[in-house]
């Protein structure tokens, strides 16, 4: 056996480096974080062969004084914290003081820097742990670090690197993560001498659009919620935009990109009943909280965090995201294909109520500003809605009941030949122009007979159609009602039913197509959920308690969370080290499944300090009921019934997709239709 010996400092450094600098992308991340910590506002990154050959980061930050250059490359040397208290409050990205030293131990490093007060720049070189003394050099304020031949001195490690293309991919991803968090910084990325990314300093919504792509940004829902010292802001993708991979999930804690089970679990659950189970939600979310409440010093790469109160964080994030998603009803997100317009309301509404609903509403208001509101009749102003752009549009009116819809039909067709609602037949059977019947005045619109302002543009191209149909009846009034797009509700009015499956409706933007069953299922489901939500879960105590075998961990959780169970309708008692008795179960839940449910409940309580298992279970049951309660395909619906469904969809939360994450409606704009027919070309 060989004797025990101390490792050489160089070897120690190289071993440690493996943890921090796993691959070029991790070195790049450390370098860029240093630049950001140094207050840089412009950053340029150069990579050669995916960073394996060369990584260079140039910044315009505060630089490093000549006498500290060598220290910067020394391990456990940092300018960012001084003592434990500062560690607990740390806000900088770096604080361990080991990144540069680690990199220098496994690569050739050149550090070139100049501070604001220095009259010249200085540079040092380090190679294989050897540091040369500083030499004079030239550059403006800031810092340039060049890292060459990563792992040149540790060939074993180098073998694990993938192809240059793969490593470049990782570097690119590392940069995206950093860039999303700092829209105020301008970024440039060169690969093999070519400029491949250029993101100028801008607002967060613009940066999200730059980095994630315009398509995502348009579909995404903004959110900003603050409660109990926690702030969550960012955007969440609409469920329909969910990807199959997990790669478009960005979560930041105090500006630091993290991978955290608690957070991703909370977000995933918020998507739970609007997302197909194989799909991954897409999101960019920034959580802010008192640094003292989160430990970032868990892993050298600092992508892991530990929350002091994980249960509270989980609940907060879950609710915030869930509410943002709940706002995905047709009225709240703008119309269909143009849904994105103004929907990232982060900057525009920076001072808005930091509440998810208000955020979404304001976003929608902005969306409406370029279409709906502008064309509204003047009468609307007199109802006292000042600052209409701030007002969610349509106003979340409390009711648009069937009868009301019918009275508007009466206006449309003249009161004299008014028919009782039941006798209103599906349009097609009447041989009238289908476009005619559709729109009815929005409540609060100019009363019948008063002059109505000239119609607004979106429907100009459809004018011919309306005119043709206006032959019989009080023509002027009818045309006015039809063409005044400002009075159309977001999903418009039903025109007809297609093959017993789809509802076709005319909306301000064009044609709206609704999947009847999916939409109704959603409406029923949301109603059921809302009504059960208010009531809590009644509990059924058991005459003969049900025994279940438990593990030691489960038994501990039963004791620890003893006071949680009654609120969930459960009553549990430990009968011995390995047996528990279920003495009461929530009334809605099938008692047969209770042991299984308790087990899941305990696991979640243990892992996350909170559990949604029961609510999920309940929702699953309700979803089943909803599916049965919803109209089936091939049921023929009358126009009033179809309109009632459209109005319901506008009112409920999460109406844009069915319980399985499929869309419930789609829109085809007039512009798209024009394209189809090559009009105006």
């Amino acid at each position: 056996m060989r004797a025990i010996e101390r490792l050489s400092p160089a070897l120690i450094a190289q071993i440690a480096a493996g943890e921090v600098v796993e691959r070029p992308a991790s070195a790049l991340k450390e370098l860029v974080e240093n630049s950001l910590d140094a207050g840089a506002s412009e950053l340029a990154v150069h990579l050669t062969e995916g960073g394996i050959r060369l990584i260079r980061v140039e910044d315009d930050g505060q630089g490093i004084p000549q006498d500290q250059l060598t220290l910067a490359l020394t391990s456990h040397a940092t300018s960012k914290i001084r003592d434990l208290d500062e560690l607990e409050q740390v806000r900088s990205l770096g604080f361990r003081g080991e990144a540069l030293a680690s990199i220098a131990s496994i690569a050739d490093v050149r550090l070139l820097a100049r501070t604001a007060t220095a009259d010249q720049a200085w540079a040092i070189r380090a190679s294989g742990g050897q540091v040369d003394p500083p030499e004079p050099a030239a550059r403006t304020r800031g810092c340039t670090i060049t890292v060459e031949e990563l792992y040149a001195h540790t060939p074993a490690r180098r073998k694990f690197l993938k192809s240059a293309a793969t490593e470049f991919g990782h570097c690119d991803e590392a940069l995206r993560r950093l860039a999303l968090a700092r829209p105020d910084v301008g970024w440039k990325l060169h690969h093999n001498g070519r400029l491949v990314r250029h993101w100028a300093a801008c607002s967060l919504p613009a940066r999200i659009s730059d980095v994630m792509g315009e398509a995502f940004a348009q579909e995404a829902l903004p959110l900003e919620v603050a409660a109990g010292g926690l702030v969550l802001r960012g955007v969440v993708g609409r469920p329909a935009a969910a990807k199959l991979g997990r790669d478009a999930q960005y979560v930041y804690v105090n500006g630091r990109f993290v991978r955290d089970r608690i957070l991703s679990h909370a977000i995933r659950q918020a998507y739970q009943d609007v997302l197909h189970h194989e799909r991954q939600p897409v999101y960019v979310l920034f959580l802010e909280l008192d640094p003292a409440l989160v430990d970032v010093n868990v892993h050298p790469a600092k992508t892991e965090v530990r929350f002091r109160e994980s249960g509270a964080v989980h609940r907060f994030v879950f609710l915030a995201v869930q509410r943002a998603l709940a706002a995905t009803s047709p009225g709240a997100g703008g119309i269909g294909l143009d849904a994105g317009a103004g929907s990232i309301g982060l900057d525009a509404d920076a001072d808005a109520d930091a509440d998810a609903d208000a955020g979404a509403g304001a976003g929608a208001g902005a969306a409406a500003g370029n279409g709906l509101i502008s064309g509204r009749p003047g009468a609307a102003g007199s109802t006292g809605t000042v600052g209409a752009a701030r007002q969610p549009w349509p106003p979340r009116q409390s009711a648009w009941p069937l009868q009301q819809a019918d009275t508007h039909y009466a206006v449309l067709f003249g009161a004299s030949d008014r028919r009782p609602p039941e006798s209103v037949q599906p349009l097609a059977t009447e041989g009238e122009s289908t476009a005619l019947r559709a729109p009815a005045p929005w409540p609060g619109a100019a009363p019948a007979g008063t002059p109505v302002p000239a119609w607004s543009d979106p429907f100009a191209s459809a004018a011919g159609l309306h005119d043709a149909g206006a032959a019989d009846g009080p023509a002027g009034q009818r045309v006015a009602a039809v063409t005044d797009t400002a009075v159309l509700p977001p999903l418009g009015f039903a025109l007809a039913q297609l093959h017993g499956i789809y509802i076709l409706a005319q909306a301000a933007s064009g044609l709206v197509i609704v999947d009847m069953h999916a939409a109704h299922e959603r409406v029923v489901y949301e109603r059921l959920k809302a009504s059960f939500g208010e009531q809590g879960l009644p509990s059924q105590p058991l005459l003969i308690p049900r025994a279940m075998a438990v593990t030691a961990l489960e038994a501990a959780a039963i004791e620890e969370f003893a006071e949680v169970f009654p609120s969930l309708g459960f009553e549990l008692a430990l009968m011995g080290p390995e047996t528990a008795a279920i003495r009461a179960v929530p009334a809605l839940i099938d008692e047969q499944a209770s042991a299984h449910l308790v087990r899941e409940l305990l696991r979640e309580l243990r892992d996350f300090g909170a559990s949604r298992v029961l609510t999920e279970r309940r929702d699953a049951l309700l979803a089943g009921f909803a599916c049965h309660g919803a109209v089936r395909a091939n049921r023929s619906l009358t126009v009033p019934e179809m309109n009632a469904l459209l109005r319901d969809m506008e009112r409920i939360e999460r109406a844009d997709q069915c319980n399985h994450g499929r869309p419930t409606w789609r829109a085809v704009s007039i512009a798209d239709l024009d394209k189809l027919f090559m009009r105006g070309e």
Partner: protein, 368 residues
């Protein structure tokens, strides 16, 4: 080859008494068949699902030879039912076919050999044995069967307990939420025994037992119980397990007792149920001086309230229940009055028939 000649009605009635246990879907095809055995002018029909077996017999006009064959119970049943009442028919058997002929109709059906039919072999070991009027046993079973569990993993709850000791028969069923108990004195004393009859056998017995005084002979054969009555011979396996200690579950000494008219209470609950939450089915009973109020509310915050006049002058009580559990017991009793014995809001409630010791129903309240 002629198997039998008979009147349609002579065949249909016995077939109807066995068909209840034939499972519609089976992985073992022969189990959807009935066994037909002929000898002299007698015809025996047997059906089984391997757990319970019902055998019955009828006399036919002619059955020239001793033979046995199996064929689809449901098809034969449907054919017989569709033929005009009173028609004469003949059945002819060949290799693996059977032809039913009736005037101008003929049906050619597939058969499987009678010897392949999995009849339950009666366990030779005999235990307790007793007899009582058919109508009495039927009533006993009816009074408890609704409280049996359905496919509970605690398999011993998916049935009804028959317990005999001295000259008393005790019948109990529970699904863990409520329990129904009834007792009957037997004409003679017998050995002590306890068996759990599976759910399906109980339900089949209730269908087959007639409301008459003719006796049913019950005999224990190890893990089987045999019920012989009229032309029926029913053998069922028993559920192997320990039934919960029902004595401990039945509360004693509940002091808040109200007697109510069973039908009035039943109707009040049925009306109130219209506005109960359809998934949870909760109902609140509010006891105040000389009044029992029944209150249901649903998700839409609609409310139904029914008031019953009762004699009560103790502390007020507000207690919730699953309305179905209350209706179940009221629907299955025939007495004019029922007595409800309450403890506090969280303890179980005992429901009895005033002046009778032979029936007890215990139900847990629900926290609404």
């Amino acid at each position: 080859m002629l198997l039998i000649k008979a009147q349609r009605d002579r065949l249909l009635a016995p077939l109807q008494s066995v068909i209840g246990i034939v499972e519609r879907r089976h992985t073992l095809p022969i189990l959807s068949n009935v066994l037909i055995e002929t000898a002299g002018d007698r015809l025996d029909i047997t059906a089984t699902d391997l757990e319970v077996q019902v055998r019955t017999w009828t006399s036919v006009t002619e059955s020239p030879m001793q033979d046995s064959v199996t064929l689809s119970a449901r098809k034969l049943h449907d054919i017989l039912r569709a033929l005009p009442a009173g028609s004469d028919l003949a059945m002819e058997a060949s290799e693996n076919r059977l032809t039913v002929k009736a005037s101008r109709s003929r049906f050619n059906l597939q058969t499987l050999p009678g010897r392949d039919f999995p009849q339950i072999a009666l366990n030779p070991e005999t235990g307790a044995s007793f007899s009582l009027p058919q109508g009495v046993l039927r009533k006993l079973l009816e009074r408890v069967q609704f409280a049996m569990a359905v496919q509970d993993i605690r398999f011993y709850l998916n049935g009804t307990l028959l317990s005999v000791a001295n000259s008393t028969l005790t019948v109990v069923a529970t699904d863990g939420h409520r329990l129904s108990f009834t007792q009957q004195t037997l004409p003679e004393t017998t050995a002590q025994a306890e068996v759990i009859i599976p759910r399906k056998s109980v339900q089949e017995l209730i269908k087959l037992l007639q409301p008459v005084d003719d006796p049913v002979q019950v005999t224990l054969h190890g893990n089987q119980v045999r019920f012989e009555f009229g032309s029926i011979d029913l053998i069922t396996k028993v559920i192997d397990g320990k039934f919960p200690d029902y004595q401990r579950v039945i509360p004693t000494g509940h002091a808040k007792i109200v007697e109510v008219d069973r039908l009035l209470m039943q109707q009040a609950l049925q009306r109130a149920a219209i506005l109960s939450n359809e998934k949870i089915r909760g109902v609140r009973l509010l006891l105040t001086k000389d009044s029992l109020a029944v209150v249901c509310t649903n998700n839409e915050q609609e409310e139904a309230q029914e008031e019953l006049e009762v004699a009560y002058n103790q502390e007020p009580l507000d207690i919730g229940f699953n309305i179905a559990y209350l209706l179940d017991v009221l629907n299955h009793l025939s007495s004019e009055q029922v007595a409800c014995h309450f403890g506090d809001t969280n303890s179980s409630v005992l429901i009895t028939v005033p002046g009778q010791e032979d029936f007890k129903y215990v139900v847990m309240p629900m926290r609404i």
